[in-house]
């Protein structure tokens, strides 16, 4: 389990993270979302032990991360802008990873290498951006980490490769119970892979919940009333809009509660539709003074 407690990080005069706390349960796939400059990459660099926090603690399974190689041996990290030693090829990087990470599996590496179309002997700097990302995935998965931290992991990959990467990731999580923390702008993709979501804005964590809980507690209803009417005050409406006679209501309630409440209003017709992650964020936080729309692709 990754535990971030009251972390503050300042770059000269800019407070990038402000007393932030976050918990990633073991085996969870945690999606970190937020607009540009929210502090996602800073938080990830703190969790991977690159940055030293000004205040607060970061632990993985109770052990501090910063300057602790024993813990870092269990972490694989893919940054948004991947780095390889200049003029190194994949084989050289494999040797380095194998030397640094005791858990590195050459067998897994070669097994996955056959899935990607990468030349092991070609200098990585000659790879395209997408191929460099693939190489990073290849090396990181072959580490067989306990914690996998990914910063914008599928940026630059084509749709087929994106699917393949997510598939590999999910397979690893399913087989080995890897804890995954990933940041992305793309909520639609996160919805497919994440089971926990945290939203970051201006260095603070606005919201942190299991995705299922979010989806269970917010429903979208399409309702047709016989005539226009006021809704009762006790109905937990987050958002209301109308298109002709059809009204769309976003309710903070479970499916059963929403169904019972709407039936009591005796409408001509009503239907409950599941919300996307994107819609949940918009409606949950739309009223607040946050640039939630910036998060969305």
């Amino acid at each position: 389990m990754i535990e971030v407690r009251n972390i503050t990080k300042t770059f000269r005069t800019v407070r990038a993270l402000d007393n932030l706390s976050l918990t990633v349960p073991s085996g969870a796939v945690y999606g970190l979302v937020g607009p540009n400059g929210a502090g996602k990459s800073t938080l990830i660099r703190l969790i991977t032990g690159i940055f030293r926090p000004d205040e607060g603690t970061i632990t993985i399974d109770g052990q501090p991360v910063y300057e602790n190689p024993a813990v870092k041996r269990g972490i694989a990290y893919i940054p948004d802008d991947v780095f390889y030693f200049p003029s190194a090829n994949l084989a050289e990087m494999r040797r380095f990873y194998a030397g640094v990470y005791p858990s590195f599996s050459n067998e897994l590496y070669y097994k996955m290498l056959s899935l990607f179309t990468l030349n092991e002997r070609m200098p990585i700097r000659r790879f395209s951006k997408g191929m460099q990302k693939q190489a990073a995935f290849l090396l990181s998965i072959a580490v067989r980490p306990e914690v996998l931290i990914l910063d914008e992991p599928v940026d630059g990959l084509d749709p087929v490769m994106r699917r393949q990467v997510w598939s590999l990731l999910m397979q690893d999580v399913a087989e080995r119970g890897t804890t995954v923390l990933l940041s992305s702008h793309n909520l639609r993709e996160l919805e497919d892979v994440c089971d926990h979501v945290g939203i970051l804005h201006q260095g603070k964590l606005l919201l942190e919940r299991p995705l299922s809980e979010l989806q269970e507690n917010v429903v979208k209803a399409q309702v047709v009333f016989r005539e226009a009417r006021e809704l009762p005050n006790d109905l937990p409406v987050i958002h209301r809009s109308a298109n002709g006679k059809i009204e769309t209501l976003i309710l903070r309630a479970s499916q059963e509660q929403a169904s019972a409440a709407l039936a009591a209003l005796n409408p001509v017709f009503y239907d409950l539709v599941p919300l996307t992650l994107e819609e949940i964020f918009v409606y949950e936080l739309g009223g607040a003074d946050y640039a939630v729309k910036d998060i969305l692709v």
Binding site: I50, A70, K72, F83, V100
Partner: protein, 559 residues
């Protein structure tokens, strides 16, 4: 629980050694060519200890200069990752802690030099079998190792306190010269802006602040490569290198990795950089601007307001250029930075005014007679034998209270002339340098001009044969005539050279000539008009044709 790990990472070390193999491979090649191969080439020609000594002396200087350039290259290669955000982040995401990275990278860089040095020396020793004096090759190895340790330590320190490789390398070069250059520039400015105050330029001492100059200078002359002159400073610098390495490690442990790419990676380093850069720019650029815009006049001749103006302009350029480098933007003209520069400009103006208007009363200080024990007088254009055409440095000791009184009067007169409007100590008489020895043991040095007719009575009183002999006795004693002195007979225009086999007899003959008024003349520079020159380690002395005793001694020069 924090893990206990080794301070050395074999994986990282192997990566460094293999990645940078071309670098140390080239070095090894160069060393083999300049060491064993060179010795083999000469092995059939000259196997004397003199050849080996000459070879080792030449090698020492070459390797000092080579290490000056090679050490920062090694440091830059192994620590460059700290200056690029991507590489810095990636390297610190790996499960290798900072101490391990530092020690491993440090050792990698050391190996790039130490291994080739040792291999070269071992092979040189093998090829030098049969040479006399080949044990000196071990000394060369020691020079290579110690000098590399210092230059490498300094370069590593620069790489650590900086966040940018170019700035780090510039800092490395600057630190090799600036601590000698800055005091020198300040002294030159102080000399230029004050009248008569003879600020001593101890270039020997200053050169210790410039390691590369000090080491090369002391290694250049074989005979002066003594323990004190060469080995002690070399060991001192090597120890300093180790201290810098330790400081670099302490800094690395606390370093903010996000400062990769910035000019300076530490707050105190930023402040030091800002101040030193501004000071250097103010002095250097200020002097240059003053000279350029004063139509080539020197600083002293430029009008004082002009000089102040250009120094303030130079401080402006220095301050904001440093700010731009530190902040990596040209948008530095903000209130806080402007206030900082105003402070720097104010200090500059105050310092210049303090010097020019003698706020501390230094240049108007004339010792009181009762406190003056003695004085040493140096006459720039007068020789003791009153030969006005010769150029020599006559040094006269004054102890007589009456003569000391006259000297103080000359000094006061000179200051009065200056206060009446003379712009400096140039152009209206004879320049004299006085060292006042005060009764408390303190020495005060002054250089000023006196009108020629005012100094004549003093010189005539001093110009007695007894004084002259005493003076030359001391001078010739200082010359320490030894068998290495030789006579060059210009009269024959064939440049015949005789070794001085009886230095004591020659000295006596010259003193006898001096007592009779036929004084040998010290000279600087060649003057073929004269007949004989005596070359000795500390001076060149012209023997005039009238010197009968010395010439006679030459005529019957003993075998």
């Amino acid at each position: 629980m924090q893990s206990k790990t080794s301070l050395f990472s074999p994986v990282l070390f192997r990566k460094n050694v293999t990645r940078f193999a071309p670098l140390w491979g080239i070095l090894l090649g160069v060393l083999l060519l300049s060491g064993p191969v060179a010795i083999m080439r000469y092995s059939s020609i000259d196997r004397t200890s003199i050849w080996m000594a000459s070879f080792c002396n030449g090698s020492t200087i070459s390797y000092l200069l080579m290490n000056f350039g090679y050490a920062p290259l090694c440091a830059a290669l192994v620590f460059r990752y700290l200056h690029q955000t991507r590489s810095a982040y990636m390297m610190h995401a790996f499960p290798i802690n900072r101490s391990t990275q530092y020690v491993t990278n440090l050792l990698s860089g050391l190996c790039f030099a130490v291994v080739p040095f040792v291999v070269q020396t071992l092979l040189s020793q093998l090829t030098a079998v049969g040479f006399r004096g080949s044990e000196q090759l071990w000394q060369v190895l020691l020079v290579q190792l110690l000098s590399f340790l210092f230059f490498y330590g300094l370069a590593v320190f620069c790489m650590l306190i900086s966040g940018n490789t170019v700035i780090a390398m510039l800092s490395y070069v600057a630190l090799n010269f600036i601590f000698a250059a800055l005091p020198l520039a300040i002294l030159v400015l102080m000399r230029s802006l004050t009248f008569g105050v003879n600020f001593e330029l101890h270039t020997d001492r200053l050169s210790y602040l410039s390691p590369i100059i000090q080491l090369v200078r002391s290694a250049t002359f074989g005979e002066s490569k003594t323990r004190i002159g060469f080995w002690y400073p070399l060991f001192g610098y090597a120890i300093l290198g180790v201290v810098l390495i330790v400081l670099g490690w302490l800094h690395y442990r606390k370093r903010h990795i996000e400062q990769a790419g910035e000019a300076m990676a530490h707050r105190w380093a930023r402040i030091a950089f800002l101040l030193v850069f501004t000071l250097s720019c103010t002095l250097g650029l200020g002097m240059i601007l003053t000279m350029i815009f004063s139509l080539g006049e020197n600083i002293m001749q430029a009008a004082f307001p002009v000089l102040v103006f250009f120094f303030v302009v130079a401080s402006f350029i220095g301050w904001f250029a440093a700010e731009m480098m530190l902040k990596r933007t040209i948008k530095v003209f903000r209130k806080r930075q402007l206030l900082g520069w105003l402070c720097a400009a104010l200090v500059t103006v105050l310092a210049l005014c303090a010097l020019r208007f003698d706020v501390l009363g230094v240049q108007h200080y004339v010792p009181k007679e009762e406190k003056l024990a003695s004085a040493t007088l140096e006459l720039g254009t007068y020789n003791y034998n009153i030969n006005e055409n010769s150029v020599s440095d006559a040094v006269i000791e004054l102890n007589d209270p009456r003569l000391l009184h006259e000297l103080l009067e000359l000094h006061r007169d000179s200051l009065a002339q200056f206060d009446l409007g003379a712009t400096g100590n140039y152009g209206y008489g004879t320049t004299i340098t006085v060292h006042y020895h005060l009764s408390g043991g303190r020495t005060v040095n002054r250089t000023f001009d006196v009108q020629s007719h005012l100094i004549q009575p003093l010189l005539e009183e001093l110009n007695t044969p007894e004084n002259a002999v005493a003076y030359y006795d001391k001078l010739l004693g200082d010359c320490s005539f030894d068998p290495s002195a030789y006579i060059h007979l210009e009269a024959f225009r064939i440049g015949r050279i005789y070794e001085c086999r009886e230095p004591a007899a020659l000295k006596d003959a010259m003193l006898q000539d001096a007592a009779e008024g036929n004084l040998p003349i010290l000279f600087s520079g060649l003057d073929l008009e004269y007949d004989y020159y005596l070359y000795c380690p500390n001076a060149n002395i012209h023997i005039p044709k009238t010197a009968t005793h010395t010439l006679e001694l030459f005529g019957v020069f003993p075998r």
